[in-house]
Protein backbone atom coordinates (compact mmCIF):
# COMPACT_ATOMS: atom_id res chain seq x y z
CA UNK A 1 0.00 0.00 0.00
CA UNK A 2 1.34 3.40 -0.99
CA UNK A 3 1.91 5.91 1.86
CA UNK A 4 0.86 9.49 1.11
CA UNK A 5 2.13 12.60 2.88
CA UNK A 6 -0.97 13.92 4.64
CA UNK A 7 -2.33 15.04 8.01
CA UNK A 8 -3.48 12.39 10.41
CA UNK A 9 -7.00 12.34 11.78
CA UNK A 10 -5.65 13.44 15.19
CA UNK A 11 -3.90 16.44 13.64
CA UNK A 12 -7.08 17.42 11.83
CA UNK A 13 -9.14 17.04 15.00
CA UNK A 14 -6.69 19.17 16.99
CA UNK A 15 -6.71 21.87 14.28
CA UNK A 16 -10.50 21.86 14.15
CA UNK A 17 -10.68 22.17 17.93
CA UNK A 18 -8.13 25.00 17.98
CA UNK A 19 -9.95 26.79 15.15
CA UNK A 20 -13.20 26.47 17.08
CA UNK A 21 -11.62 27.94 20.22
CA UNK A 22 -10.02 30.83 18.28
CA UNK A 23 -13.27 31.61 16.45
CA UNK A 24 -15.29 31.50 19.68
CA UNK A 25 -12.79 33.85 21.39
CA UNK A 26 -12.90 36.21 18.40
CA UNK A 27 -16.71 36.23 18.45
CA UNK A 28 -16.75 36.82 22.22
CA UNK A 29 -14.31 39.75 21.86
CA UNK A 30 -16.36 41.16 18.97
CA UNK A 31 -19.55 40.88 21.04
CA UNK A 32 -17.95 42.68 24.01
CA UNK A 33 -16.51 45.41 21.77
CA UNK A 34 -19.85 45.93 20.04
CA UNK A 35 -21.58 46.21 23.43
CA UNK A 36 -18.93 48.68 24.61
CA UNK A 37 -19.30 50.75 21.44
CA UNK A 38 -23.09 50.90 21.78
CA UNK A 39 -22.78 51.97 25.41
CA UNK A 40 -20.13 54.60 24.53
CA UNK A 41 -22.23 55.88 21.63
CA UNK A 42 -25.32 56.21 23.85
CA UNK A 43 -23.37 57.98 26.61
CA UNK A 44 -21.64 60.36 24.21
CA UNK A 45 -24.98 61.27 22.61
CA UNK A 46 -26.44 61.94 26.05
CA UNK A 47 -23.40 64.04 26.99
CA UNK A 48 -23.72 66.02 23.77
CA UNK A 49 -27.42 66.64 24.46
CA UNK A 50 -26.88 67.85 28.02
CA UNK A 51 -23.84 70.01 27.20
CA UNK A 52 -25.65 71.64 24.27
CA UNK A 53 -28.79 72.21 26.35
CA UNK A 54 -26.76 73.58 29.26
CA UNK A 55 -24.85 75.99 26.99
CA UNK A 56 -28.01 77.21 25.24
CA UNK A 57 -29.97 77.67 28.47
CA UNK A 58 -27.07 79.51 30.13
CA UNK A 59 -26.67 81.86 27.14
CA UNK A 60 -30.42 82.43 26.78
CA UNK A 61 -30.87 83.06 30.51
CA UNK A 62 -27.94 85.48 30.69
CA UNK A 63 -28.74 87.44 27.52
CA UNK A 64 -32.53 87.65 27.88
CA UNK A 65 -34.13 90.94 28.93
CA UNK A 66 -36.80 88.99 30.76
CA UNK A 67 -37.90 85.42 31.37
CA UNK A 68 -41.65 84.91 31.73
CA UNK A 69 -43.52 81.74 32.66
CA UNK A 70 -46.16 80.52 30.21
CA UNK A 71 -47.16 77.51 32.29
CA UNK A 72 -45.80 75.50 35.20
CA UNK A 73 -43.27 73.82 32.90
CA UNK A 74 -42.81 76.32 30.10
CA UNK A 75 -41.35 79.79 29.79
CA UNK A 76 -40.43 82.43 27.23
CA UNK A 77 -37.35 84.62 27.04
CA UNK A 78 -37.51 88.05 25.44
CA UNK A 79 -34.50 89.66 23.82
CA UNK A 80 -34.78 92.65 21.45
CA UNK A 81 -38.35 91.71 20.51
CA UNK A 82 -37.38 88.11 19.74
CA UNK A 83 -38.85 85.26 21.72
CA UNK A 84 -37.16 82.04 22.69
CA UNK A 85 -39.46 79.55 24.34
CA UNK A 86 -38.71 76.40 26.30
CA UNK A 87 -40.90 73.56 27.44
CA UNK A 88 -39.63 71.08 30.04
CA UNK A 89 -41.48 67.77 29.85
CA UNK A 90 -40.61 64.52 31.66
CA UNK A 91 -39.36 62.85 28.45
CA UNK A 92 -37.97 65.79 26.50
CA UNK A 93 -37.15 69.49 26.48
CA UNK A 94 -38.04 71.64 23.49
CA UNK A 95 -36.56 74.99 22.48
CA UNK A 96 -38.22 77.20 19.88
CA UNK A 97 -36.44 80.20 18.42
CA UNK A 98 -37.23 81.97 15.15
CA UNK A 99 -39.44 79.11 13.95
CA UNK A 100 -36.63 76.64 14.58
CA UNK A 101 -37.46 73.91 17.03
CA UNK A 102 -34.90 71.78 18.87
CA UNK A 103 -35.81 68.75 20.93
CA UNK A 104 -33.51 67.35 23.60
CA UNK A 105 -34.41 63.79 24.47
CA UNK A 106 -33.68 63.77 28.18
CA UNK A 107 -35.52 62.25 31.11
CA UNK A 108 -36.27 65.11 33.47
CA UNK A 109 -37.86 65.45 36.88
CA UNK A 110 -38.57 68.12 39.51
CA UNK A 111 -38.58 70.98 37.00
CA UNK A 112 -39.39 74.22 38.80
CA UNK A 113 -39.53 77.87 37.82
CA UNK A 114 -38.72 80.28 40.64
CA UNK A 115 -38.81 83.96 41.43
CA UNK A 116 -36.93 85.02 44.56
CA UNK A 117 -36.67 81.34 45.54
CA UNK A 118 -40.47 80.91 45.43
CA UNK A 119 -41.95 78.46 42.92
CA UNK A 120 -43.89 80.04 40.05
CA UNK A 121 -46.96 78.10 38.95
CA UNK A 122 -49.00 80.84 37.28
CA UNK A 123 -48.40 81.97 33.68
CA UNK A 124 -47.27 85.52 32.96
CA UNK A 125 -44.93 85.84 35.96
CA UNK A 126 -41.28 86.82 35.62
CA UNK A 127 -38.89 84.10 36.72
CA UNK A 128 -35.26 84.36 37.74
CA UNK A 129 -34.42 80.70 38.17
CA UNK A 130 -34.98 77.36 36.50
CA UNK A 131 -34.23 74.06 38.22
CA UNK A 132 -34.59 70.53 36.94
CA UNK A 133 -32.86 67.17 37.14
CA UNK A 134 -32.00 64.78 34.35
CA UNK A 135 -31.72 61.06 34.90
CA UNK A 136 -29.31 58.78 33.07
CA UNK A 137 -28.41 55.23 34.16
CA UNK A 138 -29.88 55.92 37.64
CA UNK A 139 -27.64 58.97 37.97
CA UNK A 140 -29.25 62.32 38.62
CA UNK A 141 -27.68 65.47 37.23
CA UNK A 142 -28.94 68.69 38.84
CA UNK A 143 -29.37 71.66 36.49
CA UNK A 144 -29.84 75.18 37.77
CA UNK A 145 -29.93 78.43 35.81
CA UNK A 146 -30.20 81.77 37.53
CA UNK A 147 -30.73 85.23 36.10
CA UNK A 148 -29.96 88.38 38.00
CA UNK A 149 -32.27 91.18 36.92
CA UNK A 150 -31.41 94.82 37.03
CA UNK A 151 -33.91 97.02 38.91
CA UNK A 152 -34.91 99.06 35.82
CA UNK A 153 -36.87 96.31 33.98
CA UNK A 154 -38.90 95.60 37.14
CA UNK A 155 -39.82 99.31 37.50
CA UNK A 156 -40.79 99.44 33.80
CA UNK A 157 -42.97 96.34 34.27
CA UNK A 158 -44.66 97.85 37.34
CA UNK A 159 -45.41 101.04 35.36
CA UNK A 160 -46.72 98.93 32.48
CA UNK A 161 -49.03 96.99 34.82
CA UNK A 162 -50.38 100.19 36.38
Amino acid sequence: MKKLNAFTIIELTVITLLSGIVISIAYFVFFILQKQYNSYDKTSKYQLEITTLSRLLTEDFQHADSVVSTSEKAFEMFKNGKITSYQVEPLYITRNKSEVSDTFHLLTQNSTLLLDEVAVTVPGIWVDELQFETIYHQKTLPFRFHKKYAVAPFICKEHHNQ
Binding site: K2, E129, R144, H146, K148
Partner: protein, 140 residues
Protein backbone atom coordinates in the same frame (compact mmCIF):
# COMPACT_ATOMS: atom_id res chain seq x y z
CA UNK B 1 -0.43 -15.08 -18.32
CA UNK B 2 3.08 -15.49 -19.67
CA UNK B 3 6.17 -14.63 -17.64
CA UNK B 4 7.25 -11.98 -20.19
CA UNK B 5 4.00 -10.11 -19.74
CA UNK B 6 4.30 -10.35 -15.96
CA UNK B 7 7.88 -9.01 -16.10
CA UNK B 8 6.81 -6.10 -18.28
CA UNK B 9 3.93 -5.26 -15.97
CA UNK B 10 6.28 -5.33 -12.95
CA UNK B 11 8.80 -3.03 -14.60
CA UNK B 12 6.03 -0.53 -15.53
CA UNK B 13 4.80 -0.64 -11.93
CA UNK B 14 8.33 0.03 -10.65
CA UNK B 15 8.74 3.04 -12.95
CA UNK B 16 5.41 4.51 -11.78
CA UNK B 17 6.34 4.01 -8.10
CA UNK B 18 9.75 5.64 -8.66
CA UNK B 19 8.06 8.69 -10.22
CA UNK B 20 5.53 8.92 -7.40
CA UNK B 21 8.32 8.68 -4.85
CA UNK B 22 10.31 11.35 -6.69
CA UNK B 23 7.34 13.71 -6.62
CA UNK B 24 6.47 13.16 -2.93
CA UNK B 25 9.96 12.85 -1.50
CA UNK B 26 10.95 15.56 0.98
CA UNK B 27 13.68 17.87 -0.23
CA UNK B 28 15.51 19.74 2.49
CA UNK B 29 16.97 23.16 1.73
CA UNK B 30 18.27 26.14 3.68
CA UNK B 31 15.47 28.65 4.30
CA UNK B 32 15.97 32.40 4.49
CA UNK B 33 14.82 33.51 7.96
CA UNK B 34 15.54 35.91 10.82
CA UNK B 35 17.75 34.87 13.68
CA UNK B 36 16.37 34.33 17.17
CA UNK B 37 18.00 37.57 18.36
CA UNK B 38 16.33 39.59 15.59
CA UNK B 39 12.94 38.07 16.38
CA UNK B 40 13.31 38.83 20.12
CA UNK B 41 14.43 42.41 19.38
CA UNK B 42 11.41 42.93 17.12
CA UNK B 43 9.08 41.52 19.77
CA UNK B 44 10.53 43.79 22.46
CA UNK B 45 10.14 46.86 20.21
CA UNK B 46 6.53 45.92 19.41
CA UNK B 47 5.77 45.42 23.12
CA UNK B 48 7.31 48.80 24.06
CA UNK B 49 5.29 50.57 21.34
CA UNK B 50 2.13 48.76 22.46
CA UNK B 51 2.72 49.75 26.11
CA UNK B 52 3.29 53.42 25.18
CA UNK B 53 0.20 53.46 22.94
CA UNK B 54 -1.94 51.86 25.69
CA UNK B 55 -0.82 54.39 28.32
CA UNK B 56 -1.54 57.26 25.87
CA UNK B 57 -4.97 55.82 25.09
CA UNK B 58 -5.82 55.47 28.81
CA UNK B 59 -4.68 59.05 29.55
CA UNK B 60 -6.67 60.51 26.64
CA UNK B 61 -9.77 58.51 27.60
CA UNK B 62 -9.51 59.68 31.24
CA UNK B 63 -9.06 63.32 30.20
CA UNK B 64 -12.28 63.26 28.19
CA UNK B 65 -15.65 64.70 29.10
CA UNK B 66 -17.29 62.18 31.41
CA UNK B 67 -20.66 62.21 33.14
CA UNK B 68 -18.88 62.43 36.50
CA UNK B 69 -17.11 65.61 35.39
CA UNK B 70 -20.35 67.08 34.04
CA UNK B 71 -22.04 66.26 37.36
CA UNK B 72 -19.16 67.87 39.29
CA UNK B 73 -19.42 71.03 37.14
CA UNK B 74 -23.19 71.20 37.68
CA UNK B 75 -22.73 70.85 41.47
CA UNK B 76 -20.16 73.67 41.44
CA UNK B 77 -22.58 75.80 39.42
CA UNK B 78 -25.26 75.19 42.09
CA UNK B 79 -22.86 76.14 44.87
CA UNK B 80 -21.82 79.32 43.02
CA UNK B 81 -25.50 80.34 42.59
CA UNK B 82 -26.14 79.63 46.30
CA UNK B 83 -23.13 81.71 47.31
CA UNK B 84 -24.31 84.67 45.22
CA UNK B 85 -27.97 84.43 46.26
CA UNK B 86 -27.43 83.87 49.97
CA UNK B 87 -24.28 86.03 50.09
CA UNK B 88 -22.65 83.19 52.00
CA UNK B 89 -18.90 83.82 52.02
CA UNK B 90 -17.87 81.13 54.51
CA UNK B 91 -15.29 78.61 53.38
CA UNK B 92 -16.31 74.98 53.66
CA UNK B 93 -15.67 71.42 52.55
CA UNK B 94 -18.68 69.20 52.02
CA UNK B 95 -19.28 65.78 50.52
CA UNK B 96 -22.15 65.30 48.08
CA UNK B 97 -22.44 61.67 47.06
CA UNK B 98 -19.05 60.61 45.75
CA UNK B 99 -17.87 64.19 45.19
CA UNK B 100 -16.13 66.40 47.74
CA UNK B 101 -16.60 70.13 47.19
CA UNK B 102 -14.17 72.68 48.59
CA UNK B 103 -15.11 76.34 48.69
CA UNK B 104 -12.46 79.04 49.08
CA UNK B 105 -13.08 82.75 49.40
CA UNK B 106 -10.28 85.24 48.81
CA UNK B 107 -10.35 89.05 48.73
CA UNK B 108 -9.93 90.43 45.23
CA UNK B 109 -7.17 93.03 45.12
CA UNK B 110 -7.92 96.18 47.09
CA UNK B 111 -11.62 96.15 46.21
CA UNK B 112 -13.52 95.43 49.43
CA UNK B 113 -16.81 94.76 47.63
CA UNK B 114 -15.40 91.97 45.45
CA UNK B 115 -14.34 88.48 46.45
CA UNK B 116 -12.86 85.67 44.43
CA UNK B 117 -14.97 82.55 44.79
CA UNK B 118 -12.96 79.40 44.10
CA UNK B 119 -14.80 76.08 44.02
CA UNK B 120 -13.15 72.71 43.53
CA UNK B 121 -14.63 69.23 43.18
CA UNK B 122 -12.72 66.04 43.98
CA UNK B 123 -13.62 62.38 43.59
CA UNK B 124 -13.08 59.60 46.15
CA UNK B 125 -9.46 59.17 45.01
CA UNK B 126 -8.89 62.90 45.70
CA UNK B 127 -8.52 63.57 41.99
CA UNK B 128 -9.71 67.00 40.86
CA UNK B 129 -12.80 66.72 38.65
CA UNK B 130 -13.88 70.32 38.26
CA UNK B 131 -12.67 73.79 39.10
CA UNK B 132 -14.54 77.09 39.02
CA UNK B 133 -13.36 80.61 39.75
CA UNK B 134 -15.73 83.54 39.83
CA UNK B 135 -15.74 87.14 41.01
CA UNK B 136 -18.68 87.83 43.32
CA UNK B 137 -20.03 91.23 44.31
CA UNK B 138 -20.75 91.64 48.02
CA UNK B 139 -24.18 93.25 48.15
CA UNK B 140 -24.91 93.33 51.86
Amino acid sequence: MSTAVLKKEKSVKNIIMKNVFAVHSTRYSVLKASTMLEVIAAMVIIMVIFAVATSMFVKITASGFTLEKINANLLLNNKAIDTKLKQDFKEYEIKEGEITIKKHIKPYGSNASLVLLHLEAFDNANKKMADRKELVLIEK
